[in-house]
Symmetry: C2
Subunit: 345 residues, 2 copies
Amino acid sequence: MKTLEILGRSGVSRIVIGSSIGQLEEFCNLERSVIITDQTVRGLHGDLFPQCAVIEIGEGEESKTLKTVEWIYERFLELEVDRSTLVIGIGGGIVCDVTGFTASTYNRGIHFGFVPTTLLAQVDASIGGKNGVNFQRYKNLIGTINQPEFVLCDFDLLKTLPLSELKNGFAEVIKHGLIGDARLFSFLEEYGKKVLDLEPEAIERVVSDSLNVKARIVNMDEMEKGERRKLNFGHTIGHAIEKITGIKHGMAVSIGMVVAARLSQDKSMLSTRETQRIETVLKEFGLPLEIKAGKEAIIDAIKKDKKRTGHEINFVLLNGIGNAEVVPVRIKELEEVMDDLCQYR
Amino acid sequence: MKTLEILGRSGVSRIVIGSSIGQLEEFCNLERSVIITDQTVRGLHGDLFPQCAVIEIGEGEESKTLKTVEWIYERFLELEVDRSTLVIGIGGGIVCDVTGFTASTYNRGIHFGFVPTTLLAQVDASIGGKNGVNFQRYKNLIGTINQPEFVLCDFDLLKTLPLSELKNGFAEVIKHGLIGDARLFSFLEEYGKKVLDLEPEAIERVVSDSLNVKARIVNMDEMEKGERRKLNFGHTIGHAIEKITGIKHGMAVSIGMVVAARLSQDKSMLSTRETQRIETVLKEFGLPLEIKAGKEAIIDAIKKDKKRTGHEINFVLLNGIGNAEVVPVRIKELEEVMDDLCQYR
């Protein structure tokens, strides 16, 4: 078991790695607590939950709305939730995002923490303090940045995840290696199979190293004014692909990372050998390298997302494996790289 | 013109005292800005607004809801508001509270500032970073604490206010003197008439001193963990009276301050002479000293508000004029003081 700390504006956030949900009471005061979760998670792990009131929200992006948040406020009033209450989100990214936003805005902010149950939530969504909900067709348009008091990562919870959901998380683990930890990336190259099999030591190592990268970056720049943008590596293209094709976040980010790696290579920031190593690891983890969409639709979506009409877009590129840098890229350069990667022209 | 600063978690908030709305551009970048206001304020001062999009919200507590907030999000999308936009709330407490919450949650927080148009908003509501909306029958249940980037206090705007609205603000000015600035209180005693007549030097002095007290306290304790509670002087009883009788905030707080002063006197923290001085000033500013409600209803409302069933309640009392202290008070003591002040038994 390891502990990391994030020093946010609102206080210290403690990330406990490799503990068990049964030990929750060691890290927080459960006397007056309320759990927010969903039906699937409760069905799989409900017998491990501490004894307290449970609020069950709907599943999927369509539940990540202000309507759900208002519905939780109402439950909070029924349960007489006040500033002495601790709210615990137990679930994947959606449960964590909704829990964080609701707790951050009820009574102008009450105590909250997370037990993330997916790999993606453990290595990414649950830490960093970003929370929120979708509004109309915009993802995460409404939210705040407010750190949870604790995040407890229990690897046993990952055993019930389908492979596709694990891959979703591994894309972010690979990203963390690429932008900030070359040794983590080498470990993934060497021990990919052990990691995919969730061998205890291997999974602890990669989740822990991955969280280290994210915690280090968030500690430097909680409010996303500079350094934190590096966490968007693979995400500019990734979000556009996700929107257009509807594939899972991790899959889309994988393709986004390939595009960013090739752009880095074109700018002589990354060697051909390094680009190959990246593509090999992504493949090993069952992640896609090619885009099943036309480049025009993707570039349009990027321009809209960034509200940019100019000829350049700021991109996170790699200056060698383990080292990210924000670099302006001409749309033309981007189109050239994408010509090689788009299956449909 | 004077400037004060509040150092919040999210950055520096600059309070400009005695400037004019026409000089707004000296304090902020108006290039990409959006105004939130209401019909009355726009009608009175709209010709002074900078040239930009205006969003007009409804008036009164019934407009201070999540529905209004969602409606503003929609306008923001239409106006292509993004992280480079500055949102300016021009109006009273409700406009400031709603603007602050909407801007703090859109895109996980965008730039915002205030031009408060009521005395109450200038000396109280617009500074300190508390924002939010009502939910069901609970005032300000949903909100955050997030400082505006600037607050511009233009005293000319106060000239259109009805006397009852001015009194509403003076109750908070008197409170600020009582809890943190004995000289401000003496000034109010001596120059009450000049202040009530809004004589430029007098009003600048009292608004400025009043904001100084609030800024000092918020700087010490933005998140209301200790020191900031002193700002609740007169408000424990005040909120209960406001809820039960429906009288204006300032009027209710005035009575709350009388109760708190008498409790302080009973505990030998305040002399009889000091209590008299307080009551004289409140009267001079046209504020009420007596309660037009039965004490039981008020005490019930307090217990509910504080979710307390015990025999004691924490009260902000005065240890001499200009010096506040949080002290536990027995319900019985409170009842005795209220027996003298309630017109209906």
